[in-house]
């Protein structure tokens, strides 16, 4: 199984993406931005279609669109009451744009499926390097901002008084989130972004009692889920995203049943 380069690529990229999502996920869940993460992935879908239309790498398009969108959403003020309607409107526009660019680019349905549901087995050496660089960057920046980010995400009320540069932290956090969304979409696809960023973190919150425990568990859930899914997908010839979704949702349901 590991003698195939595509399998090696999938394992390297998948593991890094799982670690990155597991690290950033708990902050997103704690700050209650899961919905925004999902919208960013839809914006990423528009970006990836745009990249196809322009004959760029889909990752470039996704990064461009989701990072720019996350910053402008931050500017619009997500604390406002209307933010949910605003996000719905933005996601409608994003999906519409995505379909338009796909149709303009004259690509077949495989391209669309790849963007929406992920295509981990078709990534090449260059893609792996892109993932390595971006994931390392996200992980390093997150660790460097760990203290302010932890306060920001887990207790915003007091953080807004205690952190002097909270706007900067918010913007940086949105940037980290957008990058993670764009990179994770490479393997789970933009429609299923929840399963690596949100589900392992939500499960971990049911078990962990310190921020580090929550992050450790989230990384463990997502890494093990990705590995198991890759192996199952290899043997059973069904999409990886399907297995990741089933595994992560399964872990989450088990965590829900656990008595609080």
């Amino acid at each position: 199984m590991f003698s195939f380069p595509f399998m090696q690529h999938a394992f390297v990229a998948g593991t890094l993406i799982a670690i990155m999502s597991g690290l950033i996920g708990p902050f997103i869940v704690a700050r209650r931005m899961s919905f925004l993460a999902h919208t960013l992935s839809e914006i990423g879908f528009a970006g990836a279609s745009f990249a196809l239309f322009m004959s760029w790498s889909p990752l470039v398009g996704m990064l461009l669109f989701s990072v720019v969108a996350s910053m402008s959403v931050g500017e619009l003020g997500m604390k406002e009451q209307r933010s949910e309607s605003l996000i719905s409107a933005v996601s409608a526009v994003a999906i519409g744009l995505g379909i338009a660019f796909l149709s303009l680019s004259n690509k077949n349905a495989t391209a669309a499926t790849g963007i929406l549901f992920g295509s981990i087995f078709s990534i090449n050496q260059t893609d792996v390097w892109e993932v390595v660089v971006l994931a390392t960057l996200v992980i390093l920046v997150t660790l460097m901002m760990f203290r302010p980010l932890r306060h920001f995400a887990f207790d915003y009320t007091t953080a807004s008084f205690s952190l002097k540069n909270i706007q900067l932290i918010e913007v940086l956090f949105l940037g980290l989130m957008a990058t993670t969304v764009a990179v994770s979409a490479q393997i789970v696809g933009s429609l299923l972004i929840f399963i690596l960023m949100i589900l392992p973190a939500s499960s971990a919150m049911r078990w962990g009692r310190t921020v580090w425990q929550i992050i450790g568990l989230a990384i463990m859930f997502s890494v093990l889920g990705v590995w198991l899914a890759l192996v199952l997908s290899y043997w059973l010839d069904l999409p990886v995203s399907f297995f990741i979704a089933i595994i992560e949702a399964g872990v989450y349901f088990i965590s829900l049943i656990k008595r609080k």
Binding site: A30, R147, T158, F161, S162, R209
Partner: protein, 230 residues
């Protein structure tokens, strides 16, 4: 000793004055009660004091060479959501400066000490989302004190608490205040708490403001005028 002089403070929102010509002083190790009806702009004044929003007129003059460190204790709301963090870790959230992802030895010692003086040591490993209202407020107070502030803001910190929890919280504040020269601003609607713990008061109304020693506060006027007072 005066540490903050508020001179001729005025704040205007969309052409409407919240208040004008507010004058008050904040004295070191004293307790200033900030009083006024809901919506009069008490929290706005605090945010302005922290430099988060600009003043329309007047100025805050600090007499401590910019060395002040302000910490904040929010109001307890029974519906407040919390994550299942241990109380120890919840209190440690306010170690939020610097690059080191874990706590240093000195920080751990400080945390342990603050947990002890806020009477949280015995429950430090229990979950914050299962703590009672009084315990949660003491955890918020501990969060603030961990930062070693010289000005503490209690923003209706005793509201929604029963009497035992209320005085329990305020006694911790008083004891700390005596030992560390901590200055406190408390936003409160609770006349008994104010009379027991405050030194000065600043009353904000739509028509102006009143500043003086807490003994001079005309409680009868508050009872009839302010619909939101207990």
């Amino acid at each position: 000793m005066m540490i903050l002089d508020g001179k001729d403070i005025g704040i205007k929102f969309d052409d409407r004055w919240l208040y004008q010509k507010v004058n008050f002083q904040l004295n070191q190790a004293h307790n200033l009660a900030l009083i006024g009806d809901n919506g009069v702009g008490k929290t706005t004044l605090i945010r302005a004091m922290l430099g988060k929003i600009p003043l329309t007129t007047g100025e805050f003059k600090w007499y401590d060479d910019g060395q002040h460190k302000i910490a904040y204790v929010p109001q307890y709301r029974p519906d407040m959501q919390a994550f299942p963090l241990r109380i120890r870790d919840f209190v440690g959230l306010t170690f939020d400066q610097g690059l080191r992802p874990w706590l240093s030895k000195e920080e751990k010692k400080r945390l342990q000490y603050i947990l002890a003086i806020t009477n949280l040591t015995s429950i430090a490993d229990q979950r914050i989302d299962r703590a009672s209202g009084g315990e949660r407020q003491r955890a918020y107070l501990a969060q603030a004190l961990v930062q070693n502030p010289n000005v503490l803001i209690l923003d209706e910190a005793t509201a929604n608490l029963d009497n035992v929890a209320k005085y329990g919280l305020m006694d911790v504040v008083s004891a700390y205040q005596k030992n560390y020269q901590l200055t406190t601003i408390m936003v409160s609607h609770d006349i008994d708490i104010m009379q027991r713990y405050a030194d000065e008061y600043l009353l904000l109304t739509r028509h102006g403001s009143e500043y003086g020693n807490i003994e001079q506060l005309d409680v009868a006027k508050l009872r009839e005028g302010g619909e939101n007072f207990v």
